[in-house]
């Protein structure tokens, strides 16, 4: 049973990551920085519970706030460029954040052992769930509580006028501007909300794996973040969820019996899925 709980936890966290890219993709911007906001949230929340002795909820909240602040700060300069240039700019930023954590030491003695991030060694012993006697099932439900919350919030967001404005910007920036939409404000706020979701997701991730290191937050994770909403479709938030289930449960776990062949098939099946459903599983505008 623990295997399924573990899988459900991974899927929940990847859904949050995908949702953080979903809202940015709605505005037509392709961001490769979501893994960086995820990392900021993971390290921040982990340090607050382990070193600061905070309870989990405020620590996750702080992770979300820091993720949002980072996204807002990087959004202002980065969103001045578009298309491929934005991809390159956010990619560079993401790598910068990863390398920062590669070199980030902040250890404090706790009893006989030292805890905290230790550069390339990573940050071990983020054991809030275990110390407080949470079972894997409980931790899984806790994570999915956030997933449901984030999906509900984005669903409502999508249906508000703000959601229509985001999609309008994604379709035609010049036309959106000409009807009075402030492009910078819209793009940066979408990025900020995405950063908050990624930050909370990162905080949850740190606590369920108990050990994080810079290599967890590489380009591959950033690619997954935008792949979910694109493969799933931008029609609504359920596309992202469907893509996470497809990738994590089917491609990664379901095909594990294929051994090394799985990795070959992985890419081929994603390509096949995109060819069969070019607008994503649930449809919607092309990203």
């Amino acid at each position: 049973m623990d295997f399924y709980y573990g899988l459900a936890q991974t899927m929940g966290i990847h859904t949050l990551l995908g949702l953080s890219a979903y809202i940015v993709l709605l505005t037509g911007q392709v961001t490769m920085a979501q893994a960086a906001f995820f990392a900021v949230g993971a390290y921040a929340a982990g340090m607050l519970t382990v070193l600061g002795g905070w309870p989990i909820l405020p620590a996750l909240g702080a992770g979300g706030v820091l993720g949002a602040a980072t996204a807002c700060a990087v959004g202002f300069p980065a969103l001045r460029v578009k298309g491929l240039m934005l991809v390159v700019a956010t990619l560079a930023f993401g790598e910068g954040v990863r390398l920062f954590f590669f070199n980030f030491d902040y250890q404090v003695a706790k009893g006989d052992i030292k805890v905290g991030p230790l550069g390339g060694e990573g940050f071990r012993q983020i054991r809030y769930f275990q110390e407080n006697g949470w079972t894997t099932g409980e931790a899984m439900l806790f994570i999915w509580g956030f997933v449901v919350l984030a999906m509900a919030a984005l669903w409502w967001f999508d249906r508000s006028r703000y959601g229509a404005v985001l999609r309008a910007v994604g379709e035609d920036e010049l036309a959106a501007q000409s009807v009075g939409v402030n492009l910078t404000a819209v793009k940066v706020s979408a990025m900020t909300v995405g950063g908050a979701i990624a930050g909370i997701g990162g905080g949850l991730y740190a606590h369920y794996t108990t050990h994080i290191e810079h290599a967890n937050f590489n380009v591959l994770l950033a690619t997954f973040a935008i792949a979910y909403p694109i493969v799933g479709g931008l029609k609504n938030v359920f596309g992202t969820l469907a893509a996470v289930v497809f990738v994590q449960a089917f491609l990664i776990e379901g095909l594990r019996f294929l051994g090394d062949w799985r990795n070959l098939l992985f890419g081929a099946l994603i390509v096949a899925a995109m060819n069969l459903r070019p607008y994503g599983f649930l449809g919607g505008r092309r990203a």
């Binding site: 035609d172 010049l174 959106a176 009075g180 505008r285």
Partner: protein, 247 residues
Amino acid sequence: MLELRGLSRHFGGVKAIDGLDLEVRKGEIVGLIGPNGSGKSTTVNVIAGVFPPTAGKIVFEHQDLGSLPTHRRLQHGIARTFQNIRLFGQLSVWQNLWVAQNAPGERARRGFVARWLGGQTGVRAEIAELLEFSGLAHKQDELAANLAFGEQRRLELARALAARPKLLMLDEPAAGMNNEEIGQLRDRILKLRAHGITIVLIEHVMELVMGVTDRIAVLNFGQKIAEGTPAQIQADPLVRKAYLGGI
């Protein structure tokens, strides 16, 4: 109301507009005509703030617009439509008008949260009125991309009106329309003028331009070669030469 003083816009070596002076008075319909590539659309784009002028000034209601971005110019009351229709194709007709609810003072009048939710009666009534005006009420839930060409033109006009502009710039609104549609467009333009909206009309369909405008400015190679009433323009030898090539 609107004054262009020595306005120029160069793209590399190409002088799309070259020292243009033009005045548009309140309540007027001013036609802007000229051969293809004479700088008409560029003029609209510069006034709307899509790109800054290379030289010269744009003064709107005694205020130099300087380098204000497009969305701020809308707050001053300048709206426009596009030569090649630019709707939000994957949004419904209703949503296209919803997104455009950015009239000056809107923020103060309705408050941030109310605007955000936008479900309250004021906004709905205004959108309903725009739908009525453009004859699209029965299509309000269709995706804009699925509308017929003439309907898309009408929706674009309605979307530009959503901000309750003082000055409306129409960039070839009759392109691709049949005679019946042009007649309806003419009625709509006259209705807007009756509402006190000043209009700059770029158009190749001469019967429309000659029929509704008070004054016409003729551009050629980015310069104004003539200005006057429709009758004066029709009689102007320079204009005939620019259009027909030295006959």
